[in-house]
């Protein structure tokens, strides 16, 4: 009887261990960022910064003048220009990573084609000194409706909060297609602080 009980306990232990091994979260899941969900125009509060997403504009091309030289950036998709207000909560920090997350899960990081310019990420923030900033992405027309903007301080945040703002306030046509303007100047100063 005792031997039988021992064997049963052993089998049970093996089963439990096997189950634990199979369901063990991976390191990436254990240290995944903690999402803070929000909507456009709401103040979304993460551990290190507050963000208010003001406006999303779509454009066919970007036109700007730098060092006296006119530049035009075209795309076979769409330019997305997101303007937001950022403010540090308790300590100087920066917002380095922004991702345009399409409805099918495609991720678009901020475009590096414009090069460095004032108002481009990484955005350095200080408490009490909110900033208006731009994030510019290149995406595809079918990745617009139902998209999410993901913002975090670091490129690979671990166990830190990350803002996930649903893009729910778009100017669209009756067929659901977003309003796309012909040209946008990404270096135009943003009004406000």
């Amino acid at each position: 009887m005792r031997r039988l009980a021992n064997i049963l306990a052993l089998i049970l232990a093996v089963a439990v261990l096997y189950g634990m091994q199979q369901t063990k979260p991976r390191f990436g899941e254990l240290t995944a960022p903690i999402p803070v969900y929000g909507k456009m125009h709401d103040r979304v509060h993460t551990r290190e910064f507050d963000v208010t997403l003001d406006q999303v504009v779509f454009a066919r091309q970007l036109d700007f003048t730098r060092y006296g030289e006119k530049k035009t950036l075209t795309t076979s998709g769409l330019w997305v220009i997101v303007t937001a207000q950022l403010a540090a909560t308790t300590s100087s920090t920066s917002v380095a990573a922004a991702t345009w997350l399409g409805p099918t899960g495609l991720k678009f990081t901020t475009s590096g084609r414009i090069g460095w310019a004032p108002g481009m990420p990484p955005h350095l923030l200080a408490p009490g000194l909110p900033k208006k900033v731009r994030f510019i992405f290149e995406t595809m027309p079918d990745q617009v409706n139902g998209a999410t903007l993901v913002l975090s301080g670091k490129v690979e945040p671990a166990l830190d909060s990350e803002a996930r703002i649903s893009i729910d306030d778009l100017k669209t046509f009756n067929d659901g297609q977003p309003l796309v303007i012909d040209s946008y100047d990404p270096l135009r100063p943003l009004t406000g602080t």
């Binding site: 308790t90 300590s91 100087s92 200080a126 408490p127 009490g128 000194l129 900033k131 602080t193």
Partner: protein, 188 residues
């Protein structure tokens, strides 16, 4: 006969099982500590946690050198419009007499921050339009790599951009990897 042996064994077994269970009380914390000791030791060096107050004008040894806080001053004369609305540029100045010249190790992660009464902190930042410092004045990190010798006196300045409403209540703090979790909190 065999019954007696078995009884003895079970008694022995029981006693050892009890001892083992009691031992867990010590073994588990000790093993956790021994595994994570290095991580904890490294972790506490990233944050200023335990303040050491330094009176105004007092010289304090930190990171192997003697630090004296000279004061915060506002920078005037920057063209309006260059700075964000409601912000004030501030310079913090320290005089340091170099003790142990191994600054690259001792002054690692040197951070001079400003803290307001609510506990918010400002790191040094670039201030548009701020006049460049006089020759010989450097920041904490650039001094660490300047090859300063023992006994030298150096002036260290850091620039900040802070909201105007807290500019008068800010207190500077100094933290380094080699000394944390202790950090210096200077009285202004």
């Amino acid at each position: 006969m065999s019954d007696v042996i078995e009884e003895k064994q079970t008694a022995l077994e029981r006693r050892w099982r009890k001892r083992s269970l009691w031992a867990l009380l010590f073994l588990v914390p000790i093993s956790l500590l021994s595994i994570s000791y290095r991580d904890i030791d490294e972790l506490i060096r990233y944050r200023d946690m335990l303040p050491v107050d330094v009176a105004a004008g007092e010289t304090k040894r930190y990171g192997g050198s003697d630090w004296q806080f000279q004061g915060l001053r506002r920078v005037e004369g920057i063209r309006p419009g260059r700075l964000p609305a409601g912000s004030v540029p501030i310079i913090a100045r320290f005089v340091v007499e170099i003790g142990d010249p191994d600054l690259q190790n001792l002054w690692l992660m040197c951070a001079i921050k400003l803290t307001d009464r609510a506990g918010r902190t400002w790191y040094p930042s670039s201030v548009p339009g701020i006049p460049s410092p006089q020759p010989g004045i450097e920041t904490c990190s650039s001094t660490a790599f300047s090859g300063a010798q023992k006994g030298e006196r150096r002036v260290i300045e850091e620039n900040y951009l802070v909201p105007a409403d807290v500019a008068d209540e800010l207190v500077p703090t100094l933290g380094m990897h080699s000394e944390r979790p202790f950090y210096l909190r200077f009285t202004t």
